[in-house]
Symmetry: C2
Subunit: 371 residues, 2 copies
């Protein structure tokens, strides 16, 4: 996320003090902005930050380097419940690599910080193995790491090592390209949706509340209809889109905007891009939510409009391209394992319309774009 | 810290399972190394990491960029106890900026991640104001930030917002310089000590144990002899040395090695540099510990040899220069607010001798250099 986002439990419960989160983000960004002048005329001066950006980009002479930090929040609890730690690395890399890619920045390096209560070398090994696999998938080198033992400052589920895990990623903007910020988006552009395979690292506090309410404390062991446990289903690792995005860019597609759908869902994350030019979108053909997403929405009685503000609902990334480039872009994607479809178009008013496909399908309207 | 260090409570208590910490570091570094090839022939390939390094340096074409991550561990509890949050930013910047500077890398950008249980905008404001001031002191721009609300996964002292705070810093290696790793150190070189003004962000678990044992749970309110509370005294923010180090380098001093004295004290951190060439050091004239450090050592009955392995004992950084450059270096430092003195010399055997100045002064010998 760019400077400075707030994510976590209160936002994910769909309204509890989102205002306070936004206030704290603004405070942090306000102070950070005052430091930009410290690099005036030198390397590391911010080129873009805030606004339509998912990461921050600094100039280092001719090079432009992107930087972003994020964590996997309370998705960690799933691993503590299932005892499977191997896939969290994909969730962590997805959060930061895809925030870079959303601005057209190629993810390059990653440093991670693991805060633990006490050490369990077996769990550390599983986490780092997963991180290594995810780094390979995204073409990044893990070039930094810190493990901090913080004792009682860290808590979690069960008796084994508890932890919180975050990362900062660096990337490089291709030499001949400007950052993708949304300022090239025009009415009539097309929106391509990339299918997700599960929840990313947001919205889990609401998910846990729903599951606990319905199935009790031991909810993760309950069996979902496909015979897997709910714990396993919900832990489905995030798909990392950055390799695909870089392939599309390298193929010369003039991508106008990319929204990485994390906390705040399509309305907030697409809105952040669209507000740059005060535009909107009509999404008549997005992907349907995964079956377990639908089930959770139903179990919790979550309103359609709230569900799309909280979860990705099956659409992990939205890519905006000129309408005449849609087929070429879809052809590129068709040669990969990613699933994509034309989802809608950019419209000339600040409104996001979603032909929803959740538990109670209807036409949703989010009237103001952006946060 | 470089890839991948473990810091925290167990190490700081002087022996409780340091082995497990080292094991986990090795596991993490082992997996990270496997990812280096992901950047072969491309930007972001690691140039130095591990060994005598405090950060990791990657090549970006002609540019070499340093990256390091660290946190301020349980020093946070001091702020929770005193209600003063304004100086923690200096502690955070010191940990990462000085790890970059220790390899001759100029700190440039910083991204921070604040994990909280719940948000308190007043505390966030104080923290970020302090970070802004520390960034200005070190000449860095804060170009990334994330605040994560993690509910019960975060705990601490008292009733207000609890948090853990970490950062990743980027820096740039001056164009005409190689990284300072210790491989230029030779026997006969001189060691210059830079005076510290208090504890850095390590060794606090041991400090808290000692204080609680002596003064009970409310120890931070007890008055130290200079009329300040123990909480205030122990919270003395870390001095950031990177601006001085960059000034020394810019003046053309051929610095051979720099040790940033954090967890593990002089033996581990100087040892890390010296082991590159299997050398040692005879430190006959280091700075004395601050009076409150001496008092804590006495209160806890901490053995001299253990105290120097745990705390900086008044010496925040050690700079190794050719002996004929000592006076010129000290002259440069004399024009600043930093305090320095010639502390000793490099010797031709892998042993660190310290003419100690703690509660029970004597000649200490640490026979193996490096971790």
């Amino acid at each position: 996320m760019s400077l400075s986002s707030v994510k976590g439990s209160s936002k994910c419960t769909g309204g509890v003090d989102t205002d306070l989160g936004n206030k704290c983000s603004k405070i942090a960004f306000g102070w950070a902005q005052k430091t930009f002048c410290n690099r005036k005329g030198r390397t590391g001066l911010p080129v873009i930050s805030g606004g339509g950006s998912f990461c921050n980009i600094m100039s280092f002479g001719a090079l432009r380097i992107g930087m972003t930090s994020d964590g996997i929040g309370t998705k960690v609890e799933l691993a503590e419940r299932t005892g499977n730690y191997s896939s969290l690395g994909f969730d962590l890399v997805a959060m930061v690599a895809d925030d870079l890619a959303a601005n057209g920045v190629e993810p390059v390096n990653l440093s991670n910080i693991l805060d633990v209560d006490f050490l369990d070398s077996e769990i550390v090994d599983e986490l780092m193995k997963g991180l290594c696999e995810a780094a390979e998938f995204s073409g990044m080198a893990v070039t930094g790491g810190e493990i901090a033992e913080l004792g009682k400052r860290i808590d979690g589920y069960g008796k084994r090592m508890h932890f919180n895990w975050c990362a900062t990623a660096l990337g490089i903007l291709p030499e001949d390209r400007e950052p993708i910020t949304g300022n090239e988006v025009v009415a009539g552009d097309s929106v391509i949706a990339l299918k997700s395979r599960g929840f990313r690292s947001n919205g889990f506090s609401a998910i846990r509340n729903i599951m606990r309410e319905k199935f009790g404390d031991d909810w993760h062991n309950r069996i979902f209809k496909d015979k897997r446990s709910w714990g396993e289903v919900l832990q489905t690792p995030a798909l990392i889109y950055s390799p695909l995005i870089m392939e599309i860019i390298r193929a010369g597609i003039p991508v106008h905007g990319i929204a990485h759908i994390t906390g705040g869902g399509i309305p907030d994350n697409l809105g952040r891009i669209l507000k740059v030019n005060k535009l909107g979108a009509d999404l008549e053909n997005i992907f349907s939510p995964l079956d377990f997403m639908l089930e959770i929405q139903s179990l919790g009685g979550v309103e359609e409009i709230a569900a799309y503000k909280m979860w990705n609902m099956g659409n992990g990334m939205l890519v905006i391209v000129p309408s005449e480039k849609v087929e070429q872009t879809l052809d590129i994607i068709a040669k990969t394992d990613y699933l994509a479809q034309k989802a809608g178009k950019i419209i000339d008013r600040p409104e996001i319309l979603i032909n929803s496909k959740g538990a109670s399908p209807r036409l949703l309207s989010y009237e103001k774009t952006g946060k």
